[in-house]
């Protein structure tokens, strides 16, 4: 079971480009989206199960927020057509508007703090540097 998900992170949303499944998905600029509805869709469709409640990423899915690491064009193509460990979310299960709302929600998540402003983490930089 371990190996099933170990390599998912590198195979999901970090992919560069895929064939567009619709004209919508290929738009360079993101369509208008509703942050609140996007959060609801993010929760309902289970994006958080792999990418975390705040899109922070984890073992099964990379970070997708704070900031969003890809353009709308790349994201929308990937979500519709991925053939990797992340399954494709076609329009049958996720509408164009829902995807736009999710993108708006992802963009609304504030940037992460610098770890140096968190004393607990900043201390780890120095202790860990005493490597063998």
């Amino acid at each position: 079971m371990r190996k099933t998900f170990v390599f998912i992170a590198g195979a999901t949303l970090s992919a560069a480009a895929f064939a567009a499944s619709s004209a919508f998905a290929g738009q360079a600029a993101a369509p208008a989206g509703d942050v609140a509805k996007g959060k609801a869709s993010f929760d309902r469709t289970g994006c958080w199960q792999c990418h975390g409640r705040q899109g922070q990423g984890g073992r099964e899915g990379p970070r997708i927020a704070s900031p969003v690491p890809m353009t709308w064009s790349v994201l929308s193509k990937f979500v519709r057509t991925t053939r990797g460990n992340m399954p494709p979310y076609t329009e049958n299960v996720l509408s164009n508007q829902e995807l736009a709302d999710i993108y708006a929600y992802m963009r609304s998540i504030p940037p992460a703090p610098d770890f140096k402003t968190i004393p607990m983490l900043n201390g780890m930089m120095t202790t860990a540097s005493a490597e063998r």
Binding site: Q49, G52, P87, N92, F115, L121, M124, E131, R132
Partner: protein, 656 residues
């Protein structure tokens, strides 16, 4: 039915229940015939023939005053006392067990004759937990404990834990009680629970089993069992404890019982010619990479691996089957993104899955599979997997062709390999290898900064609590203690391995091996037993919630036996991996993604693990949902653990 005295021609003062029982059986047979022929009155008349003699009759028959026969007692020392002598000779410290009638003889001998010390009888609430405790115990103590189970239903319960130990190359001596003789078994349940061949149930995933039919046979087989389970590849073994041997008096008059001396087997090192050729390839490589899973069989394995890595300045990708290498070493890699693809020589040491290491395999409709190494890259494997294999269960994984396959114990082979590598490095390559080391040192510092940046990004203040935050909060309070993590950390996206410093062999024990759920909690308890005995180390168990509910009684075992341990419940309220599988099915089939939570989540009601733990004798804290409450909860928990209490803190977490 218990005991009697019969005269033995060559040992007049000795007693033998076995001989007496044979007499009973013969009488009983005769009686059965008379029942058919003469009716109830005849049966009543026949019964006195099977009754025990009086003390006076026995003394007269044996010509000695030393024999006293009390009604219903066993004359002489029971066979299970001798079995305890054998366990003591092997320095078995613990017998993890759920009590069972087929083991009542040795159970009584352990707790009374053996004074319940070395071995101590540890009360478990499930046989699966008992075996999992031996599994965790071995990985810390470096020697086996025993599990004691009922021969049929008990062993059926234990089977999954035995499979985990098998896959994880862990030593464990599983003992089961059984009564073969149908004529002396009680009817009903004892007969339902008897079996002709107890070992058949788990023979596919045990290295050896035996069903001794005499005490001398038992002594030799138990010593052999210890030797077999501790010889690489370390695997569980099964010993059947025949009930009659346990319960009958030790027969006198024959040869004296002898407990053989244990001979440990020196593990095999690789063929020198093959090792030399592997060394030559590694020494001449531009980008050698070492991948390890269970090379750190002992602390020596860690030292030997560091020496090899430093001789080559080759990165080491740790698959976390054991504590293989200090994670603050400049050559240590977790995940090792891109290293396999860039390598020209890849050395796999005690890998469970070499194929999965050098191939990407998507769990997708297309099932895309990609061989990762570049063209011409050479593969070398060293491990015991090629020397020992079974057919049925597929834990040997897919076949991967390699350039050099060395069937040997990697830990034992490493010193030879390192020496040959040093000899094979030409003078004009030494500067290049040194340069590789300098680059790795700089890279490690940069990687550390990336990790900490990501930790901060990992929803630092989010509720539920993020894996990075929880890991950092625990580390903050244990880093100056003599600590050990007695669980794996994959569910936390390996954040402990990314933020903590693991530099001692005892600080990490890997995972279940067979991925059988229900291992985590009892294995942690078993490991904590060993840590308590070793140095009263501070044990931290980061416990998956779903796993814990397979056998929560393990918490009671820890409390009952005064095993201090801090359990942090990683409570993501789901069988989370299965959620992802259901999502995948739903998306492939394009018919809605509304239902994957059904059957995969642990909601409605939420489980209150703190209260559960309190009911099982722990200090229960939580549930903690706000990360700001973590520091206080952990401090309170650690204070209690240092006072000898087992503690559980329920932390509601992000999925991974």
């Amino acid at each position: 039915m218990r005991g009697n005295v019969v005269k033995r021609k060559n040992a007049p003062t000795k007693v033998s229940r076995r001989k007496f029982l044979s007499g009973v059986a013969m009488t009983g047979a005769a009686t059965a015939v008379s029942v058919a022929g003469e009716g109830k009155a005849a049966v009543e008349a026949a019964r006195p023939a099977a009754t025990r003699p009086s003390t006076a009759a026995a003394q007269a028959e044996l010509a000695t005053q030393s024999v006293h026969v009390a009604p219903g007692t066993l004359p002489g020392r029971p066979g299970s006392d001798f079995m305890v002598d054998v366990l003591k000779s092997l320095e078995i410290d613990f017998v993890f067990s759920n009590p069972a009638s087929s083991c009542r003889g040795i159970h009584e001998s352990i707790v009374t004759y053996g004074r319940n010390k070395k071995p101590e009888f540890i009360t478990c609430m499930h046989e699966e937990s008992a075996v999992a405790m031996t599994h965790g115990y071995y990985k810390v103590a470096g020697k086996p404990a025993a599990a004691l189970c009922h021969g049929t239903v008990g062993l059926q319960h234990a089977a999954m834990a035995v499979y985990n130990a098998w896959c994880d190359r862990a030593a464990s001596i599983v003992m089961v009680g059984n009564r073969m003789d149908a004529a002396t078994r009680q009817p009903g349940v004892p007969t339902i629970h008897a079996v002709q061949d107890p070992g058949s149930l788990i023979r596919d995933f045990t290295k050896w089993d035996d069903n001794p039919q005499s005490l001398q046979h038992f002594a030799e087989s138990m010593v052999r069992a210890y030797k077999v389970t501790m010889t690489p590849p370390l695997e569980p073994v099964l010993m059947v404890l025949e009930e009659k041997l346990q319960e009958d008096a030790i027969e006198g008059g024959g040869r004296p019982l002898v407990i053989p001396k244990l001979n440990n087997v020196a593990p095999p090192a690789g063929d020198p010619n093959a090792v030399r050729e592997a060394a030559r390839l590694l020494a001449m490589a531009e980008n050698p990479v070492i991948v390890v899973d269970r090379v750190g069989r002992t602390a020596a394995g860690v030292r030997h691996l560091v020496e090899l890595a430093e001789a080559l300045n080759a990165p080491v990708i740790d698959q976390l089957g054991r504590m293989n290498m200090p994670n603050n070493h400049y050559l240590y890699q977790l995940g090792g993104g891109g290293l396999i693809e860039r390598a020209d020589v890849i050395l796999g040491l005690e890998l469970t899955d070499l194929w999965g290491t050098v191939n990407n395999s998507d769990d997708s409709v297309e099932m895309a599979q990609v061989y990762r190494p570049k063209a011409g890259a050479r593969l070398i494997s060293i491990g015991m997997g090629d020397l020992y294999i079974r057919a049925n269960y597929q834990d040997f994984e897919r076949y991967q062709q390699v350039d050099i396959a060395i069937g040997a114990d990697a830990e034992t082979t490493l010193p030879m390999l390192t020496e040959y590598v040093k000899q094979a490095i030409p003078a004009d390559r030494r500067a290049k290898i040194a340069e590789r080391g300098d680059k790795a040192r700089k890279g490690q510092a940069q990687a550390r900064q990336r990790m900490l940046t990501q930790a901060a990004a990992n929803a630092w203040d989010a509720s539920p609590v993020s894996s990075a935050r929880l890991s950092a909060e625990i580390w903050q309070q244990i880093k100056n203690e003599n600590w050990a993590l007695v669980s794996r950390d994959s569910s936390l996206s390996n954040w402990p391995h990314r933020l903590w410093t693991f530099d001692q062999h005892h600080q990490f024990i890997g995972g279940p091996g067979g991925a059988g759920i229900g291992y985590g909690l009892p294995a942690a308890v078993g490991a904590a037993f060993a840590h308590r005995e070793a140095d009263r180390r501070l044990c931290v168990n980061i416990q998956n919630d779903g796993d814990s509910m397979y056998a929560p009684g393990a918490l009671w075992t820890a409390a009952h036996h005064k095993v201090p341990m801090l359990t942090i419940m990683w409570n993501n309220r789901a069988y989370h991996q299965e959620i992802m599988h259901l999502q995948r099915m739903a998306n492939w089939r394009q018919r809605g993604i509304e239902n994957p939570h059904i059957g995969t989540t642990i909601w409605d009601p939420y489980i209150n693990y703190a209260k559960l733990a309190e009911a099982l004798g722990h200090v229960g804290i939580g549930p903690i949902t706000d990360p700001k409450d973590l520091a206080g909860a952990i401090k309170r928990g650690l204070d209690a653990v240092k006072m000898g209490e087992p503690v559980l803190i329920d932390v509601v977490t992000q999925p991974r």
